[in-house]
């Protein structure tokens, strides 16, 4: 019995053990935690200078509700990390922000999501410019079965961002450099992107996304397939990008969340449980579930 329980905790919290030991995660005995059963969002989901706002967002896959009444802002020049156990709806929520959920027939979104004050689910909203503005890096690397060059150049091409070949070359090189892939692929730009390793493919996808200069970037576990060096490059990139843009990043790594993000949102079974400054979330969580999760005692 004991062994089985231990095992489960180990798999869920495998990344958290370090945080748990290094960070002062233990609640001080005097602090009152919100009860496990409470589902209201704890903390401050709104910011003054919001780039995107979400109000009472519900997402359903058929009859099944994947996101429940989530309200959250994404601020200007900020990185917001979304954490939570697997299947809690992080990807689903992220995909609402640039309407990628439109591609799933059974998926239904209610509530209001705005970008710069404009309702992105409004009637006359064109998803093409929306997605050019709100770019996305997917959970699984999905390069096109085309050359490395064409993978990165595709976005700028269809949006007409480059006047000529030289400009396009320039965009491709800059994007690949930022994604930390340039040195590895500069001699084989005409080889298929699908021939790269998993981690290289993910960086290629990141390069492809930033090649169209989106103003909000949604990253769904961008580093889950990357080694520590590549991860560091991506984290530096995120730091650099946030000077101009807003970034929402889903991650299973607490360290990564604490390294790159200013705010953190904790999801649990479709509910936004707690949101607040990253430092506060990881040091003094105010909800029992958050605390369980970050200390690796979830389950």
């Amino acid at each position: 019995m004991d062994a089985a329980a231990n095992f489960e905790e180990l798999t869920v919290g495998i990344e958290n053990t370090q945080t748990a030991s290094t960070g002062p995660a233990k609640a001080k005995s005097g602090r009152i935690l919100f009860d496990r059963d409470s589902r209201d969002t704890v903390g401050e989901p709104f910011v003054e200078d919001a780039r995107m706002t979400c109000r009472d967002v519900n997402v359903y896959y058929g009859d099944k509700q994947a996101i429940k009444d989530v309200s959250l802002d994404i601020g200007r020049n900020e990185v917001i990390a979304m954490i939570g156990p697997s299947g809690c709806g992080k990807s689903t929520f992220l995909r609402c922000l640039n309407r990628m959920n439109d591609t799933i027939d059974t998926c239904r979104v209610t509530g209001q999501i705005t970008l710069d004050g404009i309702d992105v689910y409004g009637k006359d909203i064109d998803v093409v410019p929306l997605r050019a503005q709100v770019g996305m890096v997917f959970q699984k690397p999905n390069p096109f079965p085309k050359s490395i060059y064409d993978n990165v150049a595709y976005g700028p091409r269809i949006h007409g961002l480059a006047q000529n070949r030289a400009e396009l070359d320039d965009i491709v090189e800059t994007s690949l450099r930022k994604a930390g892939l340039w040195e590895e692929v500069k001699d084989r730009m005409d080889q298929p992107g699908t021939g790269l390793s998993g981690g290289q493919q993910q960086r290629l996808c990141i390069a492809r996304t930033i090649a169209v200069s989106p103003e909000v970037i949604l990253m769904d576990e961008p580093c889950s397939a990357l080694d520590p060096i590549a991860t560091a490059i991506i984290e530096d990139l995120i730091d650099e990008l946030k000077q101009q843009y807003s970034i929402a990043i889903v991650t299973h790594s607490m360290q990564q969340a604490s390294r790159v993000s200013q705010r953190t949102a904790y999801f649990h079974l479709g509910d936004l449980i707690e949101v607040g400054d990253t430092a506060q979330i990881f040091t003094t969580p105010r909800h029992q579930l958050t605390q369980d999760y970050i200390t690796g005692r979830f389950g």
Partner: protein, 430 residues
Amino acid sequence: MNNATANGLPPGRRAIDIVNAGLSKRYRRERRFRLYGISAILASLLFLSFLFGSIISKGYTAFQQTFIRLDIFFDPAILSQESLTTANYPGVVKQSLRQMFPEVTTRQDKRMLYGMVSNDAAFQVRKLVLDSPEMIGQTLPIWVAADDDIDMLMKGHFDLDVPESERRINDVQLAWVDRLQQENRVEKRFNRTFFTAGDSREPEQAGILGAVMGSFYTLLVTLLLSFPIGIASAVYLEEFAPKNRWTDLIEVNINNLAAVPSIVFGLLGLAVFLNFFGLPRSAPLVGGLVLTLMTLPTIIIASRASLQSVPPSIREAALGIGASKMQMVTHHVLPLALPGILTGTIIGMARALGESAPLLMIGMVAFIVDIPGGLTDSATVLPVQIFLWADSPERAFVERTSAATIVLLAFLIVMNATAVILRKKFERRW
């Protein structure tokens, strides 16, 4: 104790022991399945080789034709310079036959003698004279096609045990053939006529070019219509159409259409294209339209299947950087689905090439001598030609039927091989 609860096995038993115990049974089952597979393949190979063997053994002789060498005297008395196009060329041929066999005198015997060579001989002489009139006055050895009965005799298809009165060649003719053979005047040569002529009542003058051209024009119409319409429908249904009751209904109907007997499409073509729109009967245009109706469901179903097999992550990748749906389809999905679409199309076209029933209904079964030169000329197609020849009483049409089947099979094999090559060529991994 602790170990036992962790893996759920009773104490003292190791998983690997259980695995090993079941292993030989697993391998036996695997061997048995492999055996089933191999015997299934062997059986189908056997049937296939039986089919091919029987067709080829019956048909290969049709690619040769018996020729007889005549010493033709281009008689200036018959071939007067003024009317070379209308001169009595059969007379020239008959004259040289009479000279070779001076002993033949009775009218009946002469008719038998003339019947030894094909009617085509006169046309051959005419062509020679028109090409080079300076021949007139000379005597030249000319190889002319033998009549189909003589041809059959030379190929050993003639049963000499039958009493003379029931044979198509009597003993007198047999003697003449023997004499010709002794004089080295009989020879089997490659049968060019078979590939360059249209249909004919005379087997030695009948060829498949008319039917091949008919099939070509018919398939051209079918391809030009069914490929774009098929792809457009498949792309619309798969990528753009909302999933609702109407699209479900359409899908069910397309699947049903694929199973409708082809003769029904022929009836439809007869009612709609011929009777209502008044299009010409027996024309490849109408044949192509009918076969388009028949092929479309196949192409649509194959195309949809290969569109479905394009991974959704590719679509998301394209949409995610702001490609419109149309760009997603034309830049990414279609190129990836193309091998499957092409395969489906070629298989559909191969089926259309082998189809005869619906074409019977729209009159493509007529006896047509001329080689069609366009979409509205009267024409027939290869399978219908096979059907027509199979119905003909002459023995020489038996081998021509098989030979036409060989040609049809060759086209089918080429088309299917093209499908495989295209698939290999365009196939890309992701």
